[in-house]
Symmetry: C2
Subunit: 370 residues, 2 copies
Amino acid sequence: MPAATSAAAPAAHAPRPCGEFDLIRRYFLPSAPPAPSGGGVELGIGDDAALLAPQPGMLLAVSSDMLVAGRHFFEDADPAALGHKALAVNLSDLAAMGAQPLAFTLALALPQADHAWLAAFSQGLLALAGGHGCPLVGGDTTRGPLNVCITIFGQTPRGQALTRAGARAGDDIWISGSLGAARLALHALQGRITLPPATLAAARQRLERPAPRVALGLALRGVARSAIDLSDGLAGDLPHVLQASSQAAGQPLGAELDEQALIGLTAPWAQEAQEEQEAQPACGKSALDAAARLQAALAGGDDYELLFTAAPGARQAVLAAAAAAQTPVTRAGRVTRAEAAAPASIFLRAASGALRPLPAEARGFDHFAA
Amino acid sequence: MPAATSAAAPAAHAPRPCGEFDLIRRYFLPSAPPAPSGGGVELGIGDDAALLAPQPGMLLAVSSDMLVAGRHFFEDADPAALGHKALAVNLSDLAAMGAQPLAFTLALALPQADHAWLAAFSQGLLALAGGHGCPLVGGDTTRGPLNVCITIFGQTPRGQALTRAGARAGDDIWISGSLGAARLALHALQGRITLPPATLAAARQRLERPAPRVALGLALRGVARSAIDLSDGLAGDLPHVLQASSQAAGQPLGAELDEQALIGLTAPWAQEAQEEQEAQPACGKSALDAAARLQAALAGGDDYELLFTAAPGARQAVLAAAAAAQTPVTRAGRVTRAEAAAPASIFLRAASGALRPLPAEARGFDHFAA
């Protein structure tokens, strides 16, 4: 790791009551899950680099995500939930490639060595890692504004990765699980809406402890033609698939999304909230009408569901993969030939059959938008 | 990438004059070096994950480093130099494993999208990447306090990686290049010492644009028994080799370092400074006496030289490897059997033959020391 050049450098000559290597040893090594049997990890934490051994014929899938306090999570976020989420968003990227998790590295900047925080953070991180057989193999810790950067490694057979570029005109568009709950929780925590308590608790769980769709991604190898995970919202992420696939196919592609299917994707939380609200009529209903549910489905960030496309002839195979992964999936539209580039080529089809362009306010989040 | 939960989230609905994907496209794609022929990179920037293909029989070496403004570099650091250094410290980790660079990911938090800064940063980063055939394959950009996190990937034949754990009693200790110049520059920039202008310029080059010893690391495969790169200073990093090797060997290992050899490792800058000072006697001399040069060799962070050990019978092979890599190496001590664990088992041997323990003030830097 790099040496420090801070004006605080005289710390170099102080005793080390709890130094960098102690931090890693104390919080991240003892409870780290062992490498999965069958391997992948030849050398873990503690050397200049970790050594990974993908199985013969496998490609290594690599993804990095950086989470910044005040931007991706509240400054006072529960550290166990943050540990979970930091790894979950990376596992979600592997899921979207159809890659089997192998290992990850963690680079962590902390304002100070806060032991209670580190214990909770590492617990949340390593519990999810253990559940996916994905050990921590290296990284870096340093003092600085709170910042969590995870790079994850997975493997996928050559030619079977689920890229963004494989969609073709006529493909069905599928979405896993449900949409909008994380957005609902965020808006409630920001004080923009009011939710009944049980609904808020469930939605907050989706915001803070998303469950990456790794099993579904693996089951979709050889079935789906393209995939992406929904981190910035359906309306923000679908254009990435259409743009990459248009380039690969040599023709502009668009999409038609089924409004009723999208509203149905919010049903798990919307129905629960409806029941709770009817029992407690003092709470507002603004989050629950059809227009609000459609907007939540389109613009909800942080869902970490998979959006994938597959040929219409593969519908039975998609449903079998979903059943094998114990993950519900919904057919929510189709890929079309288009005149224009995405997102202008994305349309919503109402129950009446009428088509309208994707509303501009549905667009996803961009971290450097003005 | 993760969605943002900031109170500034309404930016999601604003137009995107220079969004996240534009930033990557504009600054990091056009001048990115192509993947080296013979491959390694099957899919680069733009999907949920990159896909790497290590050659058959190769292990993948993985290392992450996080650089924080105000900690590892000055807030107003030259962005081109920062881009260079952020990758150089990661390449240095690969060098210390004897691994051939394949690719890297970049996660970057920036206070704002500063175009001049990004243009210079990416130029410095990609120029070094191109020189090592090591393309950028993915990553993340977000708004936040300036933070640069790079994860690098290399490959090394199974069984030939230069780990920290391979040193044995009786091994020679070797060090590449020269030591202490980066520390000298840091102290001058902090106003703690005064340097003649040409010496400062040369030392500053070592601090800001270190040259990772990748070629030497590759040439030492099958020759060296252990290696580490010197980022926190010889006195801070040598104990890592001794501790890992003691554990592997099942016996406590120590080291004797040759004071004259260590002082000699500072010769490139010390002699130049001496000559410049004699021409300009107004400048101070404190940085140049033997004790100060020894301290600089022991405690100088940010050198990014390789420390490696090899059997005495391998001296000719070491020199041949160094010649092939066009990198000078110095034999600076030997690994010993010890009673205690490192760093207490590290001694300095004076020209007279007298042994003394490594001075406490020579220890390296720890990012969480009190």
